[in-house]
Symmetry: C2
């Protein structure tokens, strides 16, 4: 089939261009790949591919390079996710298992992902809407100041100072502490706020002021936490791949990488762990990132996402390999978090 050969040519062009970073011509193509046809034939196919908008020439009398649409075709139909080597898998497990706490896990994941892909890696902190409250602690600092500490099942800790309008004694604090814990311990964050709503009613009228205040603070800590969408970036030195001018492509990228809001948008809305999102060039939902692609996926237990992670790299990236690495890191990270 002639259609089949055309696709083989496209695949060859993508692979060659990705590895050499130079426009690829018909002659070089038949030499490096065993296509079994002559350069002239390949030229005809290339002309057809160009008509379809899958490849283009940077200028006349140069070889062809894939367009975004060409990469899209390649990713969708011409390639498959490349599994990692045994050595890489071993590296992942040993590295991730050495982590001591949540921060460390995230940190190591970023480093790992950037090293595996040789690209800029982005990992979102686990979003904790699914996690549960492990404990609430109240500490009397002074008679009108309480320290509220919220401890979550994922191991994160949130703390707030509560300034009271009037002094409170230790017994009252003890009662409040116990009722707070009774209300929310074991609850999922999403439900905890509800459970707290009725709590002030359990108290005498004159005691309600400090109670309401504390409850309000706790609720705000919980909701802050739910929307705490921190991300960590690593491997920025790999931006070197964007060989062209600094101002034109690297500066906006560095700027974007410091804007966590932008990064979250890049990673996409809580992707399910089972799907791998690839956005190529102009498909990336952020102007100023022309020439960049994003490969992202979710991680988490089962079908529910804790968060997302991925990499940003030039459109001319090794998609099969990158996709393999992203998927692998997401899986191992899910496993670690599930156990932890």
């Amino acid at each position: 089939m002639v259609e089949d050969r055309k696709m083989a040519v496209l695949r060859a062009i993508v692979e060659d261009y990705v590895s050499t970073q130079e426009p690829v011509g018909s002659k070089a193509l038949v030499e490096r790949h065993r296509l079994g046809v002559s350069p002239a034939t390949v030229r005809n196919d290339m002309a057809a591919l160009e008509d379809e908008g899958l490849i283009q020439q940077p200028h006349t009398s140069a070889g062809r390079i894939p367009t975004d649409k060409g990469y899209r075709m390649f990713v969708d139909r011409l390639s498959q996710v490349k599994p990692l080597s045994a050595a890489e898998k071993r590296a992942i497990t040993t590295l991730l298992e050495g982590a001591v706490d949540l921060d460390d896990v995230v940190q190591r994941s970023v480093r790992l992902l950037s090293q595996l892909t040789r690209q800029v890696a982005i990992v979102q902190y686990p979003v904790l809407s699914r996690s549960t409250v492990r404990h609430v602690e109240l500490v009397t600092l002074t008679s009108t100041r309480l320290l509220l500490v919220l401890i979550l099942s994922t191991g994160r800790v949130e703390q707030r100072i509560v300034e009271l309008p009037q002094p409170i004694n230790d017994d009252a604090v003890a009662v409040l502490r116990s009722r707070l814990n009774h209300a929310v311990t074991g609850e999922r964050l999403v439900d905890a706020a509800e459970s707290l709503a009725a709590l002030p009613d359990l108290f005498e009228h004159h005691e309600r002021a400090p109670v309401s205040l504390t409850v309000a603070t706790l609720v705000s800590a919980i909701s802050d936490h739910r929307s705490d969408e921190r991300v960590v970036v690593g491997g920025t030195a790999n931006l070197a791949q964007f060989g062209d001018g600094f101002e034109t492509s690297i500066r906006p990228l560095l700027e974007a990488l410091e804007e966590h809001v932008v990064l979250l948008r890049l990673l996409g809305e809580a992707t399910s762990p089972s799907t791998l999102t690839v956005r190529i060039g102009s498909e990336v939902p952020y102007e100023g990132l022309g020439g960049a692609s994003v490969v992202a996926t979710g991680y988490g237990a089962g079908d529910e996402a804790f968060g997302t992670l991925g990499v940003v790299g030039p459109t001319r990236m090794d998609y099969p390999g990158t996709m393999g690495s992203v998927r692998a890191v997401a899986r191992y990270l899910s496993k670690i978090l599930d156990e932890g």
Copy 2:
């Protein structure tokens, strides 16, 4: 005095070169600065300055640029720290006062510093050896598992799980909690470990196992915390200033910026808040950062440093302005932390 004029010429060269980023010649110099002498005279002075190794020509028939030694002279003797404008001061206070917790304070400081200096900013998290223990909390999770929460005066919280060899009842936990707090509340971290050493002796022999275990965990949490030298980096987009090739200067910089150990070395050992360290070009204690300078200072209460912060930029930076910004941010940060 002819020496005075030579120094004036050096100052003028540094200032011009910093603002234009181009080698500065004798003619341009007398035009832009009112030196009151002719270009020829300036040329003689320049020749002398070059003999002394303070300036150099990139190539014959080009203007002069300062050497590292020249910048050093400029910083030490020809310039003074530039105070911030009222608007900048206002920006600092409003921005920093909006912070909600420690993470946020550090985050905002980095952003602030990079915006003020238009350079890469680095802020070390407060090192807590100076800080004191505000409270220790013990929470019974199960009869053989305790959650230990350590709350510090700087607002950081450390937590550990303690697995006990045998069950413990709530009364015993209460006693332990109270004794732990009695021993360490208000203590500085450096001293807390000592104070804990004698604690198991207060208990009956058969109770000592859980006590020792808890104490050991607490001590490890404290010492972990003391060595927790996290740093945060911001404003990497300002690397654009290093105009020359990516591979030659920006890549090693980006790599260094991800190596927190290197950064800590760059910032220098816990500088006192009252001194401002400037390392210029080859003085920077890290190879591969040729062409970079570091301006750093400590922050903290009184003379005792909580940590350090600073910026990294090209040797051709505006030293007076940068020094002013670094010093100002350090002061405001100290104030915020002192109050909090």
